[in-house]
Symmetry: C2
Subunit: 365 residues, 2 copies
C-alpha cells in the first residue's frame, strides 16, 4: 500500500523482502531479498538510498545505528523506534512525559506480581517486553495460579515480564498523527478500533459518538507523544477509553492497520503521509472525505481459493473497496481488508462485515 | 495508474514497455521490454496471460488477431478497437448506429474538399484517418489556400484524409462508461474538458451547469456506443456540446486523461473499473465522492528539475493530490497531473491550475 502511494508521488521506492512471494515483492519493481535481522542484507539494501523506513518494528536497534553510520537517514530514528520495540521503555517514557498509561511494574518473580495485583486488583495483564504483536506475548491473568503458568513460559534473552493494570475500557481508539523531521505534524480523525483475540478486526473513523473535545484530547496526546519521543513518519497511539479517561496502551511508528481506512476515507492516506513525513516533504491533508469510513479485515477461512468470494463480493456491493495482499490463505491470517465510506456507520459496518465474512467463508449468501 | 489499481485488487499485472525508463517500467514488477508493433515481442509478452488490454490504440489490428488466435482474450477486441484506430471507420459506424457526429467526407483531392466546404461552410477540419493523437494529425483549415498546404502533407500508407464540419461548440464533454464482456455497464458523471493546442489541459467533473437531463443524454450516447460497438473496458466519448446538441468527436477505449479525476473523485476509479471490466469482474460504483473534482495536467516547462516545485506545491496546498509519472521533463510534455476535490469548482480550478502552473514554471509565487 505504501508502494501505491510512492508510485503516485513519483518517489523511488525499494523494499527489503524475505521472499519473492511476500506481498510487496509481488508488486514492487525494486526488491532486495533478505531478512530484516541480517546486517549484511540491510547494508546491501541501504546502498544508494536516501531514507529508510519500516512496516514493522523488528529491525534490531544496533543495526539501525549501523545504517545511520552509513549516512542513510533512518526514520523514525532508533531512539524513537525503541519505544515501539520495548514495552518497558515505552512505559517509562510515557511516565516521564506525563502521558497516562495503565499502572505497570516490571516483574521478575511471582511475588512481584502478587504484590502488584494486591495494589491494582485482578485481573492483571502480563506482557513480554519485546517481540509480541497481534496479541501474541500478552496474557490476561485472573489469579495467582494463572500467573504461575504464564511466568513459566520461557522469555527471549532480551525480554522481561511487564505487568499492567487491566483497564475496563468501553472502547479502544487509535489516534494517528504524521510528523516530519522539521517538526510539522498533522492529526487524523480519531478512529474506533475493535480487536478480536488481540487482532484488529474493524475500524470506524471517526469514532462514533466521541465528543469533539475528547477527540481533540486524544489527538493532543498523539501529537505530544510524537513530539516528545521525536517520532518521524506515522504514529498510531492505541488508547483505552473508559468513557471519562484515556489510557495509552501501545504505539506503532508506521502505517498501521487502524489507518487503512484513510486510503479511501481521507484526502491524504496514512501511506502517503508516512512517505511525505520520512522524506521531510510537506504533509498532506488528513481530513476525511466522507462522514464515516469503515474498514474490516479479511481473515483467512477454510477455503483456500478467494476468487469466487471475490466475484460475489464485488457483485453484491459495487461501492465496497477490496484490498487483497496476495497472501496464501491460512485460517485466521490477515489476507486483505475492505473499506466503505458514507453517511451511516452502522450500515457501512454491516456492508463491510458481510464482505469480510464472505471472504472468510463464515457466510455464503 | 492501472498498476496501482491492480495492486489493490490483488490482480497479477504485466506491462509491455519500450524501455526501462518508461513510467510503468519504473514501478511495475512484471515488465517485458519490447515494442507494441513488434509481433514477436507481443507473442512473447502474451505467454501465460489471461487478458490483454491497452493504454493506447496503436497495436496493429492484425497483431491483435494473432494474439486472440493464441487463446488470449484481447479486450477491447480488435473489431471494437478499430473504431479508435481509424477515424473514417468510426464515422461510418456512428452513422450506422444513429449517433450524431459532425458531417464528414473522405477526401482524396482538393476538389472533394472544396465541394464539402461549399456544403458545410468554412472552416473545415482536416484529419488523417489514422495515427494522430493529442492534436497531431488534425488541422482547422479556413480557406482553399490553407487546404492546399495541408493536403500536400504526405499521408502514412494506410491513412486517408477525412474532412469534417467544424462544430462551433460552447464546451467539450467527456462521457465515460465501463462495459464488461457479459454486458454490464456503468456510466461516470459527465466531465467538462478543456483542450489547449489539442492537448487535454483540465477537467471538471461533473460538468458545471450541465442540465441533468442533458447529462443523462450524454451518458446514454456513451452507453449506446459501448453496446453497439461491443466495447469492453473503459470507453471515453469526446463530445462537442453546442448548448442544445451533442456531436460525438472521438473515442478512446482505455482509461483516458479525462477520467484521471476519478482516482480521488469517484468511489471506483476508471483504472480499477477498466481492470474489472476487461477481466469480466463485476463493475464498481462510478459515483463521485465529492460535489466536484478538478484535474489539471502538469506540462513540462523550461526547468528540468521538478523537486523544488514539488516541495512548494505540497506545502502551499495540503489538499492537492499530485501524480507524477517519472518522465524526463520536456517543454509541453505531460509529466503528471494534480487533482483536488471539494464543493466550489472555481476555487478548485484556481488551486489546481496554480499547482500545475508552478510545476511548469509559468508562475513562481
Amino acid at each position: 500500500m505504501s508502494a501505491e502511494a510512492a508510485t503516485a508521488l513519483g518517489i523511488g521506492f525499494r523494499v527489503l523482502a524475505n521472499a519473492p512471494s511476500d506481498p510487496a515483492a509481488q508488486v514492487v519493481r525494486d526488491i532486495h531479498l533478505g531478512a530484516h535481522d541480517d546486517l549484511d542484507a540491510l547494508l546491501a539494501f541501504a546502498q544508494g538510498l536516501t531514507v529508510i523506513t519500516f512496516d514493522h518494528e523488528h529491525v534490531p536497534p544496533a543495526y539501525l545505528e549501523q545504517l545511520q553510520a552509513l549516512g542513510v537517514a533512518v526514520r523514525p530514528g532508533p531512539a524513537a523506534l525503541f519505544h515501539a520495540q520495548d514495552k518497558i521503555h515505552l512505559r517509562r517514557s510515557l511516565n516521564d512525559i506525563g502521558v497516562r498509561s495503565p499502572r505497570w511494574r516490571v516483574v521478575s518473580q511471582l511475588d512481584d506480581l502478587t504484590d502488584f495485583a494486591a495494589e491494582v486488583g485482578w485481573p492483571v495483564v502480563l506482557k513480554t517486553s519485546r517481540g509480541g504483536y497481534d496479541g501474541r506475548g500478552v496474557w490476561v491473568v485472573k489469579s495467582t495460579e494463572q500467573a504461575v503458568e504464564v511466568l513459566a513460559i520461557a522469555l527471549a534473552p532480551d525480554a522481561e515480564w511487564l505487568a499492567e493494570e487491566h483497564i475496563d475500557f468501553v472502547q479502544e481508539l487509535s489516534a494517528q498523527v504524521a510528523r516530519s523531521p522539521h517538526g510539522q505534524a498533522v492529526a487524523y480523525p480519531v478512529a474506533r478500533t475493535k480487536q478480536i483475540d488481540g487482532i484488529c478486526a474493524e475500524v470506524v473513523a471517526p469514532c462514533p459518538g466521541l465528543a469533539p473535545q475528547r477527540a481533540v484530547q486524544a489527538q493532543e496526546i498523539a501529537l505530544r507523544i510524537a513530539r516528545d519521543l521525536d517520532v518521524t513518519g506515522m504514529l498510531a497511539v492505541e488508547i483505552f477509553d473508559t468513557g471519562d479517561a484515556f489510557f495509552v496502551n501501545e504505539l506503532a511508528m508506521r502505517p498501521h492497520n487502524s489507518g487503512h481506512w484513510s486510503i479511501e476515507g481521507a484526502v491524504t492516506s496514512q501511506f502517503e503521509n508516512h512517505l511525505r513525513a520520512v522524506l521531510d516533504l510537506p504533509l498532506g491533508d488528513p481530513h476525511a472525505v466522507a462522514p464515516y469510513a469503515v474498514m474490516v479485515n479479511i481473515l483467512g477461512g477454510d477455503a483456500d481459493d478467494l476468487y469466487s468470494a471475490y466475484r460475489h463480493v464485488l457483485a453484491r456491493d459495487p461501492g465496497i473497496k477490496v484490498h487483497l495482499y496476495g497472501k496464501q490463505v491460512r485460517p485466521g491470517r490477515k489476507l486483505g481488508h475492505v473499506t466503505v465510506i458514507g453517511n451511516d456507520y452502522e450500515q457501512l459496518l454491516a456492508r463491510a462485515r458481510h464482505a469480510a465474512d464472505y471472504f472468510a467463508g463464515v457466510i455464503n449468501e
